[in-house]
Structure formats: C-alpha cells, structure tokens
Amino acid sequence: MRALFLAPIAIAICLSAPAAQAADSHDIKGLYLMTDYPAVTVRPGTTSTIPLRLQNYGLAPERYQLSVTGVPSGWTATLLGGGQPVAAAMPGPDANVSLQLRLDVPKNASMTAQTLTVKAEGQGNEASLPVAVALAKELPAKLTVESKLPSLRGSPKSNFEYTLTIKNDSGRNLVASFAADAPPNFETSFTEAYGTQELSSIPINAGQSKDIKLKVRPPGTVDGGHFPVTVTVKAEDATAKTDLALDIAGQPQLQVAGRDGLLSARAVAAKQTSIPIVVTNSGSAPADNIKLSASAPTGWKVTFQPSTIDRLVPGKDTEVQALLTPSDKSLAGDYMTTVTATSRGDTASGQFRVTVSTSTVWGIAGAGVIGVALLLMLGAVARFGRR
Amino acid sequence: MSETANDIVIAARDLTKRYGDVSVVDRITFDIAKGETFGLLGPNGAGKTTTILMMLGLTEISGGSIHVLGDDPARAPLQVKRRVGYLPDSVGFYDHLTAVENLAYTSKLMGLRPAERARRITAALARVRLLDVADKRVATFSRGMRQRLGLAEIIVKQAEIAILDEPTSGLDPQSTIEFLGLVGELRAEGVTVLLSSHMLDQVQRVCNRVALFQSGRIVLMGAVADLARQVLGAGFVVEVEADGSGLDRRLAAIPGVTGVETLAADRFRMTADRDVRPDAARAVVAANGSLRRLSVDEPSLEAIYARYFQSQAGETQGARHAA
C-alpha cells in the first residue's frame, strides 16, 4: 500500500518542482495550483472533498479556465468554490482562491488507483495538479469506544455499571453523543465517570479519550439470562460501537399475603386462631429455607405451622398457618401484626390487620347473672307469691 | 239454729291469727248460714277485720281453718274472692276516675266481659242511686256516696256473701238509714251479709245473729234475744217507778219474774221471761202505790254489751281478789 501512495507523490513533486522553488524564495512568479495532500485514499461509495488553492505569484489578475481530467468513468469530480460548482477562477496578484475537488466514488468502483488532473488555463499561464486517488475498503477508525469489563453478572436487583472509554482518533475535536440499545424495559443511563450527572454527549479533543459510565438497570421481574446491550457513539460522520452484556442470575422474590390476598384476619382474645398465610415466590430463582416470623402487639403469641419453608420455586406459592393468640388483655378492635418471610437474598413482609373479638365467656356469665336474678324472682314468686 | 251442712256458707274452726306471741284472733269457731245477716261486734282491735281478711285470704291464717262457700281461702283465695264481695273499712276509690271507671276497673279484675260489665255496672249504679253521678269523678263524692259505690261494686260482682266492714261509721244518720236500707235489699235477695260494726243499734236492726268479739275471741254469739236471755238472764226488763211499801217483794212475787233490782227507793228493775207490765201495775196498785212510770226494755244489744263487759270486769276483779 505504501508503495502505491508514494508513486503519485513522487510524480507530483517532480511536476511542481519550479513551484516549490518559487515558494522557497519570495521572488518567484507564476501561477500555481496547490493542495496539502495531493494523494488521498477514499472508500468507494463515499464522497470526499479535497481542498485546493489557486495561487498567483506576481502575475496580473487573469481569468483561468478550470478543468479536471482523468476522471474514471462512473466517478463524479466537481470543483467547488465558495460552496458552489465553479468553472473558472481569478486570483489577484499574490493572492489565492480556495477551491475544493469533490469526488463521488461509486460503490462498485474498481480498487485500482487513479490519478486525476486539475488544470487552470489562462492567457499564457497555466497550472495543473495531478491528484492521486487510491481506493481502500476500510479507513482507519476516527472514533473508538471500548469497555474494559464488557460483561457483568448480577441479580435482577443489582445495578450494572460499565465504564466506557471513548477515544477520538479523528484528528479533530469532536462532540461524541452516545446511545445504548438494551432489551425492552431495561433502563439505561450515561453518567460521568466520576459523577452522577447524566449525559447524552461529551466533547472530546482530537487524540484524547474520555471515560463515561453506563448504568443498566434490568426490570425487577426479569428472568435470569444473558442480555446484550449495544452502545453506539456518534460524532459527525464517525460512529463507534461496542457490545456489552448483562448476565442476570435469577433471584427469588417473596410476597406475603393472606389467602386470596386478604390482609385482614379475625381473632378472639386469649384464643388461638389460625390464619392462613400465603408465601409467594414471584422472583426468578427458587427461594430456599424461608423463615417466617411475626412482629405482633405485646403479649401476643404467634407461631407458624410450619415455621420454615424448605424450598419455593419461582411462580409458586405455599400456604402456612399462622397460629395467633392475642393477649388475654387485648382490647376488642383492630391491631396490626407484621408477618415477615426471610430467605437468603430476599425478605418480604405483610401487614395484617387483626380484628380482635373479646371472648363471649363474660357475656355468657352476664347472661348467667341475669338468669340467677330471674331465678331469684321465680323463687320469690314460689316462696312469697300468691297472696 | 238448725241448718243443714249445705246451708253453711262460712265455717270457722279454731281460727287463729298470731303476730309473734300476740294472738289477734284466738281460736274462734262459728258458722254462718246462707241468707243470714251476721254481725261482728266488738271494740276496735278486737279482731273483727283480721277475721274478715282471713276469710278473704288476704292475711295468713296462723291456726285452725276457715271455709268460705266450701273453699279454703288459704288455698284457693281466688275462688273465694270471686264469690265474696268486700266493702272495707272506710273504702277508697281512685279519685281521678269516674264512678263507672272505678267499677269498670274492678269488674275487669273480676274477669267480666265488656258487655256484661257495662250492663251490670249500670244496673248496680241504678240500684244504689248513683246513676246520675255515674260519670262524675269520685273525688266529688261524699262519704255516703262512696259507701254506696262500694256496695255497687259488690252488686256488680253478684256476690253470694257481702262482707261489710264498718260500713256506717262516719255516715250521717240519713245516709246510714239509706245504706242500711240497701243492705236490707241485699239480704232480701238472699245474699249472706257479714256486717262488722261497733254501732250496736244498727247491728241489732239488721242482723239475725251476732258474734261479740273481745280480745280476739268470740265471747258471745247468737240471736239478740238469746243473748239477752243469756247475759241479762231474761228476755224482758221492766222498769217500774212507783212508791209504795214492800213493792219489791210484791213485784218479785209476780210469776215469771226472775229478779227484782232496786235501783232507787222508788225505782225497780224487774227481769222476766215475759212481758210482766200488767202484773206489775196491778202489784203497784195493790200496794197502794202511785205508779209514775212503767217501761219495758226490749232486750237491747247495748244493754247486753254493757252488762257483759260490766260483769266481765267484775269477774276479773273478783278473780283478782280471789287470787
């Protein structure tokens, strides 16, 4: 490839040797057509612009007819000046006119190198500039993004944080904007590497690199699995991509409720009542060794039958009986009791509103008192009645 | 008295009422025949009202027995009270109700049907001559009217026995006569009347037979004439006021005369088993005396009463002297 580049450059130097000499000493005279890089590489299917200058050293202003020769078939070469196509230029003495050569290279162009010649012809003076165009399928990247740890593992509840390094190789200062493409319902956000400010773009000086952070939060209900995330960084015409991955390990998620979702129960003071409690694993991994406990008002006794659940696979529920004995001093009415199911990795609790009824024993005793009083009356009627 | 057992409507045997150690009624025994008018006599507190209350089952019997119309008031007071009318001592009515309303209430308690009630009440009020004040409140009634209203209640009840406790006490003479007239009408209808009173002349006027109460006992019982013979010793007492010598001897010599009492020098009281006035007049004339007054006392309950208590007092004194 290098040899291919060097050959047209050598030609160009030979052709412009007088001009180069003139440039070296300031008393050179004449018309020169110049460019910074007379040999370029382009990619088929793209449009490239090559900046040109028509330099007049010590000549009277004159109209110079512009033309491009040696354009391969299928290519389009247009000379632009001041943003529009031009056919002639007129540089003042010791002044130049900026021109651009726009090349539209078709996709199917053959990969052979071409040499186009730009000419400026006036009354007696003329200048020409051969431009060597090499074709290449790939151009060296102008923007790169990469992550040191592209694949992270965690639970559905964890935050996945990726540190991304964006490098600007384009030789220009760029503003890089980024986007992440994640599976549905995954939340993504970009922040500074050391900060919490969310970002959507970041300026990067030429040749510099910057770190940003990508946070991915999977939905809590996600099942375990491998989820790809693609980060795309764009700056002007440059694009860079990197693939990241989340490895989500499943996690149990417990829920505690009463039967049919009821969170209320009835109980009688000082009497054991059995309250059905349904423990549900709505997570993505089985829960093992679930322990049940309760926080109840003072003097209450709460036990569970059974007191632990060995294993609860996702999507299943199991019923446990809470044996609740309100204190004999409990007042009638509502009390709150919290039932907690604890397993490694997850804890769930449900608040039960327990409506305590006081025992009707005293009510019966009261009826007994009335009964005794009535008996007393009957006795009195029997003993003293009928007078 | 010669009734068959069927005619006896009230029979008391050793009837006794004690409060603690005090016997208010002490072993009294009497029979009252159907249609009889029986007087209970005696001072206040002698046990008359208590006896009446025992007859109605309104007070407990401490001993003995009593049967009213064949029922034992201690066992079946309702049966007795259904057939016996009672006019209590100084009877009271609900002052804010009219005469009819008062009677309607008691007749309801008697268990009468509404139609029967109205009919009987109107009839009874007419009989006791209270029909024109039937719808007046009892508060405006005089004592005599109240007593008559009480009698009307007994009439409404169609009682077989009417027990009247001191019915004429506190009545003016006119009302008393009127009331006793009504009692007489009842008696004429065959109602057995039991009259308790301390007004002896009234009792004598209406009663066939009396029982004299003293300290819870019946000390005398029988027809007035019999009692007179028993207490006074004879049925007739003739008083003679005359002067003459040896008159007492001459009077005592008259056949049938059981005794002569010299009340004063010229006054003598003869007791005899017949009316000895002609003989007494003859005796005075025979003795050349001048006859100023010759009177005969029919046997008076008052006399019997007075004499009895006099002699009782004498006996007690005598007994005390003897002791």
């Binding site: 007042l331 009824s357 009707t360 009627v381 | 007071p77 049966q79 009877v91 009271g92 009515f93």
Partner: protein
C-alpha cells in the same frame, strides 16, 4: 301451703289501668315536657355544632346523641340525669298511694293475687318509660333527618336501638327502687324524698366520693403521681366504686354503644395499646360485648330491686 290459681291473673287489667293513669297524669305530663324541652335544647346545640364542624362521619346520627356543646350537656347525659327523675315520679307512690287512698284492700278483694298488682304496676311503669324514651328516640332520628339530612345507616339504627333498650333498663332500676320505697314507706312524701335523696347521692355525690374512697383503699403511688399518671390500683378501685351507681353504668354503656371507636370501658394499659389501630370503629357485636356487663348490671339491678320490693310487699299486711 300452695295456693291455687295463677299469680298473674289480672296483671293485664292492672297494667292497662296503670298505664292509662300514668299517661294521663299531670305528673307525667310535667316530667315529659321537662325532658323533651331539655333534650331539644341539647339536640339543637348538638346539631348546630355538628353542622359547623363535621365533614365526614359514618356515625353522624350517633354523634347527635353524644356531642355536647357548652354550656349544654349532651342528650345522653341529660337523659342519664333525668330518666331517674321520671322513674321516681312514676314509682314513688305506687303502693303507698293505694294504701293511702284505701283502695288496696278493695282491689285485693277482687279475684287477683297481690302479685298481679305489683307486677302490673311495674310493667305499666316500665312501658310508660319505654314509650317516652322511644318517643325521644324518634325525635332524635327525626331531627337528625331534618337538620343533618343524612339518612341513618342500619348499624346506626341498631346502635341507637341498643341505646333505647339500655335506657329502658336504666329507667327500670330507678322504677324498681322507687316502687320498693313506696312499699317500705307508708308515706308517699317520705318515699319520694328518700328516692330523690338516693338519686342525688348517686348522680351528684357518688362520682365525687368514689375517687376519694378509692384513694383511701388504694393510696396513690407517688411514682405515678410524678409522671402525672393515675395509679392503676386507684383507678381500678375508682371505677369499681363508681359502677355502684346506675348512672355511671348507664353513661359507660352509652359511650360503648354510641361511640363505635370505644374499645374498652375499663382502665387501659399502655401495652394493650401497642399495635392497636386507633380510631377504627368496632363492629356492633363487639361494642355490645363491651357494654354487656353494664347492661347486665342494669337488668340484674332492676330484677333484684323489684324482687326485694316484691318480697316486702308480699309480707306486708293489707290493712293499714
């Protein structure tokens, strides 16, 4: 000796007559208007304050019974004070009045037992009181409908009916007491004075005496006093002693029935409140269980006082 016939024969006739007497008597007329007017004043002020302050209350009707608006006490407090007066007014001369009018022996000479007279009179008095209270109850509901514009809910009606029943038995206690006194004292004036004395003692003096006696029985603990709390023992004794008064039983029962959030009428310990959801209304059945002892006290009191009077009356002589 066992007597024949029903002791209740004639109860109906006596009760009807006494009821008619009660309802037409000038005494009842005065007492009823006294109660109606005082109650109206209390209700008016209650309605006034309810309309101004209450936004949402599921038991608006019940609040009508219990809300007090200074200077007037609540409707229920007024009833607690005046029901005894009405009952005493009905009962103080029930028996001695018959004696004094000399109607007793005449009535008892009719084919009834004296049981019927006493029971009939008591029932008539109780029915009279129940009718008056029911009229007052209807008045409250009617005024509530007119001025608050809220139709009463089923539970409210049930609770206010419980109020009615308890109030009737409260009246029954005083009626039985007044009748007992009318049996014991031959003079109506004495009976009335004693009854009113007991009434004043139990409604005015006893609430002051009970805490004093309780402090003697269970002296207050200075440790509690320092915290500004009542010593539990003293509090319990105070309550026990206070409950001797039917007035106290009645007001406790009223609180329990008419304020559905009442969870207990006894002393409350802090530990009983831990975890309790405050302000939640109790179901009716639980409220009834709470006030049941008070109700039993009133019912049993009525029966026992009546039985004492009954025995006294049966043992009495008919004649004066």
């Amino acid at each position: 000796m066992r007597r024949e016939g029903s002791p209740f024969q004639g109860v109906g006739a006596v009760a009807v007559k006494e009821l008619a007497d009660n309802l037409s008597s000038a005494r009842m007329f005065v007492l009823e208007w006294l109660i109606v007017l005082t109650a109206l004043a209390a209700l008016y002020s209650a309605i006034d304050s309810l309309r101004r302050t209450t936004a949402q209350d599921p038991f608006l009707l019940l609040r009508l019974f219990t809300v007090n608006h200074a200077p007037l006490p609540s409707f229920v407090a007024i009833l607690g004070f005046l029901i005894p007066l009405m009952a005493i007014g009905l009962g103080f001369d029930a028996i001695n009045g018959e004696h004094n009018r000399r109607t007793l022996s005449r009535i008892l000479a009719q084919p009834i037992y004296r049981d019927a007279l006493l029971i009939g009179k008591f029932l008539a008095g109780l029915v009279t009181l129940a009718m008056s209270l029911a009229a007052l109850w209807l008045m409250v509901i009617g005024l509530g409908l007119i001025f608050l514009g809220v139709p009463p809910g089923g539970e409210e009606v049930a609770r206010s009916l419980a109020f009615l029943v308890i109030a009737v038995f409260y009246a029954g206690v005083w009626l039985a007491l007044a009748m007992l006194l009318s049996i014991v004292f031959r003079s109506s004036a004495t009976a009335a004075l004693v009854a009113l004395g007991i009434w004043l003692f139990l409604t005015v003096l006893w609430p002051m005496l009970a805490p004093a006696i309780a402090q003697v029985i269970a002296p207050p603990d200075p440790r509690y006093a320092l915290l500004g709390l009542q010593t539990p023992d003293t509090g319990i004794w105070t309550q026990m002693l206070s409950r001797i008064s039917p007035n106290h039983l009645f007001s406790e029962a009223m609180v329990g029935v008419l304020s559905p959030t009442t969870r207990t009428l006894g002393p409350v310990f802090l530990e009983q409140l831990r975890g309790a959801v405050m302000g939640a209304p109790l179901p009716l059945s639980q409220s009834l269980i709470i006030v049941w002892p008070q109700t039993v006290g009133l019912i049993a009191g009525t029966i026992v006082l009546f039985v004492i009077g009954y025995i006294a009356f049966q043992r009495q002589e008919v004649r004066a």
